[in-house]
Every structure is written in structure tokens, then in C-alpha cells.
Symmetry: C2
Subunit: 309 residues, 2 copies
């Protein structure tokens, strides 16, 4: 197992108006070298190229909501995947209104993609988390946020890996090769003299599954606290500083302290804040406000990789 | 009159796949400090910001065709204009299929622009140039190109300015202030003794109106030669080098020599080539191929300003 088996890369950290060299929202979650893209603002494909990401390894894209700064880069990315010869399916987890937007633009361009899209719609995500996506590496559920238009948060949980065979311990017994898959799956092993070697001796605990929660754009919500409780890493938007709390409220956004309060109440491992308003050139004070409430906070800094061990 | 009264700025020079630090197609034509945007690939608003262009001074946008690398940046730009408080109308000269694409995305975002869009559709542009747009600074006509989907070239001609009052020469006569506008408009002036001072003595020739033609994406066309004859500056796409002429043909694009041959046949002042395929990292040989046919050729280099005097 690589120590980088669960990694978040920040591609964009800006609110609606890109400024101060910050790009609109996008993040890449990498689990065992497979990529999952979270939001896809304009220019995301350029950021992916800049950070040397293999775009064909993006297995699914998760779009929180249909404000342009969260999805205007998706069509360009799909087109580039196509030009570069992609054949493999991609999953798009999004509001259902995105499908006709994609199709209309594909049709206008007179082409069609050479790879299939599987859509999973977030329209019915409500107060409870809802299972949306699953593969051999992660399980993703959605939860409702509170913005001017319907908006979904995403909770990514790594799939529990099978127990690893403890070859060092097991070498003292003569275990037929055919038995090893059974042992990995949980079986014990019985020696010729009838002694039972329990599975827990023959195998090692798998690494603790990692978890990541993504919350943008939203007012701070009580309900988020329970949903994200105990995750290793929480991204919570922090569009405004505390002095602009009124502005945050009217635009359905959060402040630095509000984001940090949710992190603290939910007992998460680490908080990352982003979606910064163009009005802030320097973010040092923004970070300090959050750290005053929840010390283990970092800024979403483009190109930054956060590895969860 | 500033010496920079007719200026082209290159914002993007890449073909469909952005690569080698080249961005998708976009150019800015500036006439007397008013901006006209020509194509608007993904990331154009970021390029405009990078080159310190005042986006609210963009009066009209001209979209050649509906391949994404020529318009995927438009929605983001319109959104940013809106966020920054634009109230003034913008013209969008484009295929009519672009209108529902814009509207669908605006509706999905739950907002609407605080400024009006005037659409002018290019659908009926045929073999002859067709008048599309006109204001106090420029007249723009469209002409048909040959690509995989309908595509329009644009010909920008500066409006002939009124004759300037020759104050130095006229100072020897006592000309009432009220007469000056008439003289500027072409009137002669009659002295008290009945002598007629002809208008050509009282005024100076206005500067020669400048012209610019934009041709992308297209196979090389005979018809283009007559359309762009004698323009000061011609942009012609040069997606491929000569060695890839077959590829140019099947993808409905042009090579460097083909672009230069059109420039030469049309007797233009200067040629600028662009829309470079991602396969070319270095463009020196591409430029040389074009210059072998038409020496006064330059590469579309992002951030480059070409001032026509």
C-alpha cells in the first residue's frame, strides 16, 4: 500500500469571480491511483494539465450544483478526453439539469463522444445522506446543502480492504496455496493435528478506511455536523471572513469561523477551507479566523496535495 | 489619435486540445479603446484578466462556430461581467444555436444577467460577405468558411473618420466657431470678399481606415482571397504543418503554406497564423514554412499585441 493511497489535490479555490490567480472550484480525489473529480469550474482541464494529472484516469465527476463556477469546465474536459482517445465510461454525478446542457452543446458541435457517460442524479438528495456512487475503491453518498439553488455535498468513504495475509507468521505452517484466498476472506486454518490457527493470527488488519467530505456552496448547517462526524478531512467553503457575515448570509455562503465551528463540532481530523471571495487578496487573516476555532485548518491552495494517512 | 487605435491582442492560439501552454482560440480587437472579442475558448476570462483588459469595455463578441474551443469561455465571461455590475448591452454575433445554449445554462444557474444581449445570427452568411454588425468605430461583415460544421469568417473595417479641422491653416481667416462643424462635415468657407476657401484646404485627410480579417477553422478557400483582398492584417488558421497536409484536409483545417498562399494571393499587409495543433511543441518551423511563401508572417503568440498603423 502506498502512503499516498488517499489524496486530495486542490485545482481551484475561487468563488464565482476568478481573481488573485485563483481558479474556480475543482478538486481531485485520488484513491489508489484512480481519480475522482469534484466540481469542474472553467479552466479545470488546464489545471489538470498543469499538475500532470492523467485525465483518462478520472473515473467519475461529482458536480455539487449548477452555478457556472462549479461546472463550466466540464464540457471542455470531456471534449479533450475524447480527442485523446478515451473509450472507457465516465460517471457524472450531478443535478439532472446538467444532462441536457451537455447534450445540447455536444449536438451543436456536430460530434459525439466515443465513450459512454453514466449519469447519476442528485435531485433526490434530501436531509439524510443518500448513496450515490460506488466502485471497488470508494463509496460516495450525497447530502443536502443550503444554497440559492439545489446543492449537494459529497461524502467519500474508502472501501474497507480485505485483510492482508500475514506471510511472516504463516510461514511456520505448511499452508497450501489454494487456502490463502480463503484465509484472506476470513477463514481459519486447521493443522493436520487438528489445531485451529485463528484467522486473526494469519492475517493483518487492513488499513483504516479514509474519509473525505466536500461541502460547497452553502450556509452553515446543523445537519452537516452529524453527516460529516469524524471524517479524516472536511472541505467546507469559507467564501467570506467574519466581518462579512451579513454578506455571507444573503448570498447563502459561510464564513471562516462558521466553517471551523462545523469542523470542531463534528470532530473531524482536518479542515480545509476554500471558495474564497475575490475581495480577499491575502488569505492569512482568513486562515487565522478559522484556526482560532479549529486549529488544524489549512487553506485550499492550488496545486496543494493533502495526503491522508 | 493614439497610435494604438487599431490593435489586435492574442488571447489563445491553440487548436481543440489546449497544450504547450497555449489556450483555446480567442482574440481581442481594440479600436479607439473599445474592445471586440473574437471567439471565446475556455479560460478566455482568465487571459483577459492576465493581460489587464477591462472586460466591461467589450462591446461585442464574435463567435465563428460552435466547436467548444471557440466558445466554452463565453458563459463564464458573461457571468463575470454580471458579477462586476455590467448594465450596458453586449452584442453576440454567432450561430443561432448558441442562444438556447446560453439560456439553458443561465436558467440552470437560477439567475439572469443584469444587462441585455443583442444577438446577431450568422446562419445566413453565404458565399458573399454579409453585413453583420456596425457601430461608430467598425463595420463587420461575415463570410463563409469550410469546416465540419457551419463556420463564419469575420472582416472588420474601421469606419472612415470625419476630416479633421486644419486649425493651423485656418487660423489666417476669421472663421466663426459655428462654422467649424460644417467644415468638418465637408463644407467650404466663403470669405467676406467672396473668395471661397475649399474644404480640402481647411481640413486634413482622416487616417486611412484599418482592416482585419479573421479566418478559422477552415480548409483553404479560393473565395477567401477576394474577400480579404488588401486588408492590413489577416489571421488565418494554420493548424498543421505541410507534412500533415492530409490530416489538415480530413479534419477541415489548413496548413502553414496554405494560409500563407492565401495571404500572398490576397495581397494583405501582414499575416498572423494560429490555432496550432497540440502536436507541435515548438513553432519555429511552422513559422518558417509560412514565411517561405509570405515573408510578413507572425505567429499568434499569447499576450502579443499587433498594432496596425
Amino acid at each position: 500500500m502506498s502512503s499516498q493511497d488517499f489524496k486530495l489535490t486542490i485545482l481551484g479555490s475561487s468563488a464565482a469571480l476568478p481573481a488573485n490567480n485563483r481558479n474556480p472550484s475543482s478538486q481531485l480525489l485520488t484513491v489508489d491511483q484512480q481519480h475522482y473529480l469534484i466540481d469542474c469550474g472553467e479552466g479545470t482541464q488546464l489545471q489538470l494539465r498543469r499538475f500532470h494529472v492523467k485525465i483518462q484516469r478520472i473515473k467519475a465527476v461529482f458536480i455539487s450544483h449548477l452555478h457556472g463556477d462549479h461546472y463550466f469546465g466540464l464540457l471542455g474536459l470531456l471534449n479533450s478526453m475524447n480527442l485523446l482517445g478515451r473509450k472507457g465510461e465516465i460517471g457524472i454525478v450531478c443535478p439532472s439539469d446538467l444532462k441536457p446542457i451537455i447534450e445540447l452543446q455536444m449536438n451543436a458541435g456536430g460530434g459525439r463522444l466515443q465513450f459512454p457517460i453514466t449519469y447519476i442524479f442528485t435531485d433526490k438528495v434530501g436531509g439524510e445522506t443518500k448513496h450515490l456512487f460506488e466502485d471497488e475503491r470508494i463509496v460516495v453518498s450525497g447530502f443536502k446543502l443550503k444554497h440559492r439553488i439545489p446543492c449537494t455535498g459529497f461524502l467519500f468513504r474508502q472501501v474497507v480492504k480485505p485483510r492482508a495475509f500475514n506471510a511472516q507468521f504463516a510461514s511456520q505452517f505448511e499452508i497450501p496455496l489454494a487456502e490463502i484466498p480463503k484465509i484472506k476472506a476470513g477463514a481459519s486454518f486447521t493443522l493436520n493435528d487438528g489445531t485451529v490457527i485463528p484467522n486473526t493470527d494469519l492475517t493483518l488488519d487492513p488499513p483504516e478506511p479514509k474519509s473525505y467530505a466536500y461541502c460547497t456552496d452553502t450556509r452553515p448547517l446543523e445537519s452537516t455536523i452529524e453527516t460529516v462526524r469524524g471524517v479524516n478531512l472536511l472541505y467546507h467553503e469559507s467564501t467570506f471572513m467574519n466581518a462579512d457575515a451579513d454578506r455571507a448570509k444573503t448570498t447563502f455562503h459561510s464564513t471562516s469561523s462558521q466553517a471551523a465551528t462545523i469542523a470542531k463540532s463534528a470532530g473531524v481530523g482536518q479542515l480545509i477551507i476554500g471558495h474564497f471571495s475575490a475581495r480577499y487578496t491575502n488569505l492569512d487573516d482568513m486562515l487565522k479566523e478559522a484556526q482560532d476555532v479549529f486549529p488544524n485548518t489549512v487553506l485550499a491552495d492550488e496545486g496543494n496535495e493533502i495526503i491522508i494517512n
